[in-house]
């Protein structure tokens, strides 16, 4: 028997692009030296109060708009009460579905293997992150830099049918957060964390009727997209195995934990033991009217997203779809590309350099594009030098590599190496005639029909000039001069 899989996601993404935390004036810099970005409120010293960061709200509203959600008329926050050492107040300030959070009931289109799909967004809410803790045999260490960092939690409906779809959606979201300047959305920095829920049902049943849905299993704390894929696939197989063994009906609704090391999900608690978070509206934050004017202002300020840029690269710049896809995959790459163009470089050349040379080299050097010593200015300069025939494209490759390694400008490198191309026709005519004078036998062979001997002669010109002669000019001149003999 076949099965259908229903997958829903909760994606937590830190907002990394605010100066300060979401309810505190401490710097939003989780990766700085441990326990340096803290205000009294982040450690819940008695008498401290939360103060909402308007920029965090603005970025959240922007995300809400991009996701096609409805924005609330009034902004409220709620307390989620539970005890844990990484939660100094004993409650997290967050938003529940009632009153309305920062975004409700949206829809997002995304692509998986070239196919367009759409997912319904149940809600998006703004909350604060907890502190981070490291556990050692002798005890645990807590870093409060993360306590109070703004966090967006996005909850989807169970609309994914495979791990591929779920991961493609997460990649789309990461791109949105990056392009909208909301977050770096870097899972390596712990900025993205997911909870996944998975259930299976028999293939012939109607998935639109919740009665037919299987038992929902929630998997907590999956911290990489690869992990999401593996956890989903593991869980699907685990549930199918239970079905096949006739043990599925005994499986209670439960929360499990993804164990990266063993590649398995591990039982945490059943729904019966679910924590009652005793939500109530945070009394220290007065309800805030979100004005239509402000919303309109935010809507107008949404930066161009990946899909918009991709369309522009293809339609305006004539970049191939394949290359455009590579360029927009990471925002810093697209920004590099656009900066290079803005400096006057030919878009197609820029795209070629970036997709065929730059990214591969950076990958080998284990650097991000922001860390590269070669700047858009360098690349634009290099492209111009080739266009102006100052150096050959063969030479340009060497210059590129050196600029990437040293950060020197292409002009300086070319000058140092004496790489200036010979584009003076008179000079080339002179050298061509020298070569012809030295090779009377070859001229004879040429005249006797071995026309490809001209390549050898051009090669001699290049050799004589140390590769500096402009190759196409050398060819043209040679063709003319040999006929004169």
């Amino acid at each position: 028997m076949g099965y259908k899989v229903l997958i829903g996601l909760e994606m937590h993404c830190e907002i990394s692009n605010t100066k300060t935390k979401v309810f505190s004036s401490a710097i939003n810099g989780y990766s700085d030296k441990a326990n340096t970005n803290i205000r009294p409120v982040d450690m819940a010293f008695p008498g401290t109060l939360p103060v909402v960061n308007k920029e965090a709200v603005r970025l959240s509203l922007m995300a809400s708009m991009i996701l096609g959600c409805t924005q609330p008329e009034y902004l409220y926050f709620e307390r989620k009460n539970y005890y844990y050492p990484d939660l100094p107040k004993g409650f997290q300030i967050t938003q529940e579905t009632k009153p309305a959070p920062i975004g409700s009931y949206g829809k997002l289109e995304y692509e998986v293997n070239g196919e367009k799909k759409s997912v319904r967004i149940n809600n998006l809410h703004l909350e604060e992150d907890a502190a981070s803790s490291d556990h050692y045999a002798s005890g645990s260490r807590i870093n409060y830099n993360r306590a109070g960092v703004p966090l967006l939690e996005l909850v989807t409906e169970p609309d994914f049918r495979s791990a591929d779809e779920a991961v493609a959606f997460l990649e789309t979201m990461r791109s949105i957060y990056q392009y909208a300047d909301i977050s770096e959305a870097d899972s390596k920095k712990g900025q993205v964390r997911c909870d996944v829920n998975v259930s299976i049902m028999e293939d012939n049943l109607d998935e639109n009727d919740p009665k037919n849905w299987g038992t929902k299993i929630e998997i907590k704390n999956v911290n990489s997209f690869g992990g999401v894929r593996d956890a989903i696939n593991y869980e699907i197989q685990r549930q199918i195995d239970l079905k096949e063994d006739g043990k599925y009906d005994e499986m209670p609704q439960q929360t499990r934990r993804w164990d990266e090391e063993s590649g398995t999900t591990i039982y945490m608690r059943s729904k019966v033991d679910a924590i009652d978070y005793k939500y109530f509206v945070e009394p220290n934050i007065p309800k805030f009217k979100i004005s239509k004017e402000w919303l309109e202002e935010i809507r107008k300020s949404i930066p161009r997203l990946a899909f918009e840029r991709k369309e522009q690269y293809i339609n305006e710049y004539g970049v191939s779809e394949y290359d455009a896809t590579i360029l927009v995959k990471e925002k810093p790459v697209a920004d590099f590309f656009e900066k290079t163009i803005s400096l006057g470089a030919n878009p197609k050349s820029a795209s070629n350099w970036i997709t065929t040379n730059l990214l591969g080299n950076l990958n080998k050097m284990e650097l991000t594009i922001d860390e590269a010593k070669l700047t858009p200015e360098h690349l634009a300069e290099l492209i111009k030098m080739v266009e102006d025939k100052e150096i050959s494209s063969q030479q340009a490759k060497g210059v590129f590599t050196e600029s990437l390694e040293t950060g020197k400008s292409p002009h300086d490198i070319a000058a140092e190496k004496g790489l200036k191309q010979i584009t003076d026709e008179g000079e080339i005519v002179k050298i061509t005639n020298e070569v012809l004078d030295e090779n009377p036998d070859v001229i004879k062979q040429y005249k006797n029909g071995k026309t490809n001997m001209v390549n050898y002669l051009v090669g001699q010109v290049m050799k004589k000039t140390g590769g500096k002669a402009n190759p196409s000019l050398a060819r043209d001149v040679m063709a003319k001069e040999i006929e004169k003999r």
Partner: protein, 485 residues
Amino acid sequence: MSYMDKTIEEVHEALVKGEVTSKDLIKEALEKSHEVQEKCNAFVTIMDDVKEEKVTDELLSGIPYGIKDNYSTKGILSTGSSNTLKDYVPFFTATAIDNLAKKGAVAVNKTVLDEFGMGGTGTTGHTGIVTNPWDKTRMCAGSSAGSAAAVAAGVYPYATGSDTGDSIRKPAAYCGIVGYKPTYGMISRYGLFPFASSLDHCGALTRSVKDAAIVVDGMKGIDKYDMTSWDSSNMHLYESIDGKVKGKKLCYIKELCDINMYPNADAELKAHLENFMKTIEKCKNLGMEVTEESVDMTLLSAIPSVYVVISCAEATSNMSNLTGFIFGPRAEGDKWDTEMKNYRTKGFSPLIKRRFVIGSYVLQAENKDRYFHNAQRVRRLVVDKWNELFEKYDAVILPVGSGPAKKLEGSKDALDKNTAILEDHLQIGNFGGFPSITIPNGFVSNLPVGVNITGKCYDDINVLNIAYALESSMGYKNQIAREVK
């Protein structure tokens, strides 16, 4: 010659004229502190080494005062009168206290309260019972018990208080002094240890209405660390008091003030209500119109329960930061949750634990709508009703409590059902955030009793003016406790 038994205006004049120095005043206040500590046990800390302040044009400059021990004070023990914070020395000062310091006010001691303000007897602080300076067999009421006792005993002209249900205004009545809590948010709560955030107010205990205005002028102001604070820079309370009340309209509530509502009334209650009606006559003599209004008894009867539900719910969450990990004496335990449990079990008094249980119970998913949300709905109804009264009247005038200070022995915490509403109606002022002031209006059984005036939000000046006119027509301004033999 003593000065600490005078009004702020008088002391200021003496300072300006050079009759006395700030240093002399501090010496006097400290001596009296030790005397009153001996008699009433009013202080957690007496700051014997405090330095004098320069006398300026500010009325408060150079004059000693007391701080309730639930205000965070940098470098000075701040316990909230709880064992959970018995050694806690904060590294930041509450905004209200900072504001007073900027005016040159000199804090000389920290006063005892009911643990974290959660009590109305002055008997639950970790340093023991506070006794009434008029009669040591009686309570001061609470929670600002130490502040009330000290001001009444003439230690200094004023002390700060906090008021969640009646914690400034009830002790003021029991000690024969003035207790004023201004409109919610006029004084920042930053640095005030929270009890129930939506009900908590900062305020002052003084011996005259003008002094109350001077002190709150000094404490108030919008604060970037408290989102519920608002800009009152155009309100000058002290300067606005002119005593002109002719034509002002007051009302009192029949259900609370009519002796016939209490079939089992004792002699003290009878005398108290008779005295209240004499005060009403005084109001009329001042040219004010006073009307008897009727409010649905069902609504009035709900007030104490509404208060218990909301205050306990918020309190259980607010005090979840008390775990002993970051501050407070860390408890023993083999795991973090045992450490936390041991700390809380040992640290909190039984009364508080009872409130936490109630708070958790009413917030549980299955109870929340029935208790917590219903309490919020009734709170809204009560506030609406009072706002309706404020459309017709400048203020509501009511007797405080059911008589003079209660005996410490016997009656502890056992609420008399018949007079419950009379004991608890001041909570309405917290439900609505209304400006509310208690002033002494005579004696019952040779002990002081009080009357309360409450107005609509932001109408503090009106409330103070009515209280000032009434105070001027009675002989209890700036009275110092005389121990009843």
